[in-house]
């Protein structure tokens, strides 16, 4: 019982770990610079607080998953791990949602506020950020599946023994 239940969980956690580490690496290495009207515009991820928050949350998620992978499985704190899984899944979800909001402003601008889109001038930065957001999405979905699977394991939810 335990091995067949533990393999999918291990797989999901590994996917989440890989996706969040990828998201961090891609976001941190995103930079581009361009010359516009004689001004030097350089874009880095640290110029925008939302992307810093994204990197922070993904760092927390990967550190948590890494620590959990080395955890001895004889302990009886399954409930606390379930709650922590839920918290990390929600954090990932909020970070990716904020990044998409800011990314939309960068890609399309906001004519009502007088904000011009910057993706035309720094296309490499935009592509990098898009890739990081895709990895962040995968990490968020993987963590949601981890939470659902934890619920199933702990509570035996999906077997109809009412």
């Amino acid at each position: 019982m335990s091995l067949s239940k533990r393999i999918p969980m291990l797989l999901l956690r590994l996917i989440a770990l890989g996706a969040s580490v990828c998201a961090i690496v891609i976001m941190v290495t995103s930079r581009d610079s361009a010359q516009v009207f004689g001004m030097n515009i350089s874009a880095k991820y640290s110029n925008i607080p939302t992307f810093k928050y994204f990197v922070l949350v993904n760092a927390i998620a990967s550190a948590y998953t890494l620590i959990l992978l080395f955890f001895p499985s004889k302990n009886s704190c399954g409930h606390m791990i379930l709650v922590l899984d839920l918290v990390i899944a929600l954090l990932l979800d909020s970070s990716i949602s904020a990044c998409v909001a800011i990314g939309l402003v960068g890609k399309k601008g906001n004519t009502h506020a007088g904000w011009l889109p910057i993706c035309g001038q720094v296309p490499k930065f935009c592509d990098h950020v898009t890739g990081a957001m895709a990895a962040g999405f995968i990490a968020a979905i993987a963590y949601f599946l981890v939470v659902l699977y934890s619920l199933h394991s702990v509570m035996n939810l999906f077997s109809l023994r009412a």
């Binding site: 925008i48 939302t50 499985s73 839920l86 970070s95 904020a98």
Partner: protein, 205 residues
């Protein structure tokens, strides 16, 4: 095995109601609060609008005036915020109705499972909407010098203040909904067979 499985929930049911009435009423109170907070966030942001007239230039001695308005529909993040909080408020209302009417009906089978899962989904929706709006608001308040985006909060102060109030209300509502979700997941133990052996070995990888 069949008789064991049949007896355990009965024992649990006999002991559960006395201890869980207090928890029941606390959860109902928290849900009322969460409903009011998400409803407040929806309404405040949906009615958020400010129009201002600026002096843009002069022709001779006559100043040119332009009227600019800030509405929540201009920003997709705020539209998402309004929709997400509306969905969460509707969900809380529905759960309140189900909670008050549920003592008269008896739910069998999959029905008690639906409530925590819906809670989980709605918590995710609200947290996504709140965080998107918070970061857009931060951009509007501070601007971004590197991208040459000017701040708009110095010109549209009451728009920004009302938006901030809606965001705070939504964040507190999201926190309450997380607590409600956690408690409703834990209370599933009383409904379904709770396998203690499964607890220790299957959650960890």
């Amino acid at each position: 095995m069949a008789s064991e499985g049949g007896e355990k929930p009965e024992v649990g049911h006999d002991q559960a109601p006395a201890a869980s009435t207090k928890v029941d009423w606390t959860i109902k109170g928290l849900r009322v609060l969460a409903f009011l907070l998400t409803l407040n966030a929806t309404l405040v942001m949906a009615l958020n609008k400010q129009t201002k007239t600026f002096a843009v230039g002069t022709i001779g001695t006559v100043p040119l005036r332009a009227t600019l308005s800030a509405k929540f529909q201009h920003t997709p993040a705020f539209v998402f915020f309004v929709i997400a909080n509306a969905i969460a408020a509707l969900h809380n209302l529905l759960m309140l109705v189900v909670g008050f009417a549920g003592s008269k009906l008896s739910f069998k089978g999959l029905a008690p499972l639906v409530i925590p899962i819906l809670d989980l989904v709605n918590v995710a929706i609200v947290s996504g909407g709140a965080s998107a709006a918070v970061f857009m608001g931060q951009l509007g308040r501070n601007g971004n010098s590197h991208a040459r985006w000017n701040k708009i909060c110095d010109k549209f102060e009451s728009f920004c203040d009302r938006g901030g109030a809606a965001m705070i209300s939504s964040l507190v509502g999201a926190l309450l909904m997380i607590i409600i979700c956690a408690v409703s997941i834990i209370r599933l133990r009383n409904h379904y067979g709770y396998n203690k052996l499964a607890l220790n070995s299957s959650v960890l990888p």
